[in-house]
């Protein structure tokens, strides 16, 4: 009990960090995902190629490796290049762990969201696009006003699932030193040797976050269902 009293404020702080990373990654993940799905369905070769390579790389590698690579690997490259150019070998460059976490999670989520969007857009009857175009709507306008609203409605359950996965995957960022919930728990139990109660507390906080997220998506689903 005493342990939990000590742990609780730390967990709240950790939860805020988790939430911060999740919200940013969710926003950019959807943005990157939408653009990538449109790129993948483009009639031009280059956007299709970029989208495919991006999706395959992200889906083909573990997020743990992506985080390690970006946080530890990229600064080495930057250091090397800058040192070469300036001739100053003492140049130092590091990435803020929270920022790195946001970037990794955004791009990771984006690849999965892209495939969700693509499935959603392709599930809209092609007569919808034809009707919109026959009314003189340009392709982009038809996409934005006719196709995407219908696609979002159908993909909301899978999108919600992806958001829940995203919350849980931020726990990976503990390995690059982001003091999110899992990291807080690890540090705490390393001092107190109370793994059972600590990780139970950690799990509960994740539960609260994921449960709230799926409720929020549920509310959104019901609000979009008015035309049914």
């Amino acid at each position: 009990m005493e342990n939990l009293m000590l742990l609780f404020p730390k967990l709240v702080e950790g939860a805020l960090t988790t939430l911060e990373v999740t919200v940013v990654a969710l926003f950019f993940g959807v943005l990157i995902g939408l653009m990538t799905s449109l790129g993948k369905m483009s009639r031009f070769f280059v956007p299709r190629l970029i989208a495919n390579v991006y999706i395959e790389i992200i889906r083909g590698t573990p997020i743990l490796v992506q985080a390690l690579f970006f946080y530890f690997g990229i600064p080495v490259v930057v250091r090397t290049i800058v040192s070469l150019i300036t001739g100053d070998p003492s140049f130092r460059f590091t990435i803020d762990p929270i920022f790195a976490g946001m970037v990794v999670c955004s791009f990771n989520s984006g690849a999965y969201v892209a495939e969700i969007f693509r499935a959603g857009i392709q599930s809209v009857d092609k007569g919808q696009m034809e009707a919109a175009r026959s009314l003189g709507m340009p392709h982009k306008l038809a996409m934005r006003k006719i196709i995407l609203p219908q696609a979002v409605k159908t993909i909301l359950p899978s999108l919600g699932n992806e958001f829940v996965v995203l919350i849980k995957e931020t726990s990976i960022l503990s390995v690059i030193g982001v003091s999110e919930i899992t990291k807080v728990g690890q540090l705490h139990t390393a001092v107190t040797y109370t793994p059972f109660s600590t990780y139970l507390g950690v799990a509960c906080v994740y539960m609260i976050l994921t449960f709230t997220m799926s409720r929020l998506v549920g509310v959104l689903e019901r609000r979009l269902a008015v035309s049914d």
Binding site: Q128, E130, A131, L135, K145, V226
Partner: protein, 240 residues
């Protein structure tokens, strides 16, 4: 006026339209009939470039529209299209379906577009359904809304792609009535249809298509009472 010159359309190796040349005059009502797979829908869809012609020209009021440098959206504003499967926007109310393109494309103020939209709904007898989503409409009502939606862009030509084929028989009449009113109002119309009675009554001219070509054409009287081509005779003997 629509001029179609040496229109060819192929899907891969399948040649669907084989060198069609045809002129449709202003205010003319033309019905296209023929067996399924004859290319009549493709022919219609080529007129507003929903299908891109493989070769040949589509000229509307003197402008060659299948010219890549042209803004096809501007031309499509003048060509209304009604589909077999209605294709109403399910996430928009009846009135929103009608006002969307005028507001978004023509930048007409919302109130004005809504006033015009209500007027169109009255014309098709559905003013009481303005706030309803398409899901709650019957097939006949959906198609009447679809016609109103196309008319909202104030087209000079209306294209109909089997507008009554997906309807229950008792709803065909209400849609045909709206089309009849349009025809009497002087709209240029190209109608792909299986409603022979309607074609006979409303059309100025009937085109019979088979195998990707216009096999025979003439006034409804000529086609229905005195078909000269053997394929026309055989088709009509099956459907009449």
């Amino acid at each position: 006026m629509i001029e179609i010159k040496h229109l060819h359309k192929s899907f891969g190796k399948l040649e669907v339209l084989k060198d069609i040349t045809e002129t449709i005059a202003a205010n003319e009502v033309v019905c296209v009939i023929g067996p399924s797979g004859s290319g009549k829908s493709t022919f219609l869809r080529c007129i507003n470039l929903l299908e891109e012609p493989t070769s040949g020209d589509i000229i509307i009021d003197g402008v060659k529209i299948n010219d890549p440098s042209l803004d096809i959206n501007k031309i499509r504003e003048r060509l209304g299209m009604v589909f077999q499967s209605f294709n109403l926007f399910p996430h928009k109310t009846t009135l929103e379906n009608i006002t969307m393109a005028p507001i978004e494309v023509k930048k007409i103020p919302k109130e004005e577009a809504e006033r015009a939209g209500m007027e169109l709904l009255r014309r098709v007898g559905l003013e009481d359904k303005a706030g309803v989503y398409p899901r709650a409409l019957s097939g006949g009502q959906k198609q009447r809304v679809a016609i109103a939606r196309a008319l909202a862009m104030q087209p000079t030509i209306m294209l109909f792609d089997e507008p009554t084929s997906a309807l229950d028989p008792e709803m065909v009449g209400e849609v045909l009535q709206v089309m009849r009113d349009l025809a009497h109002g002087g709209m240029t119309m190209v109608i792909v249809t299986h409603e022979m009675g309607f074609a006979r009554e409303v059309a100025d001219r009937v085109l019979f298509m088979d195998g990707g070509v216009i096999v025979e054409q003439g006034t409804p009287r000529e086609i229905f009472e005195n078909p000269r081509n053997e394929r026309t005779q055989s088709f009509l003997s099956k459907v009449l």
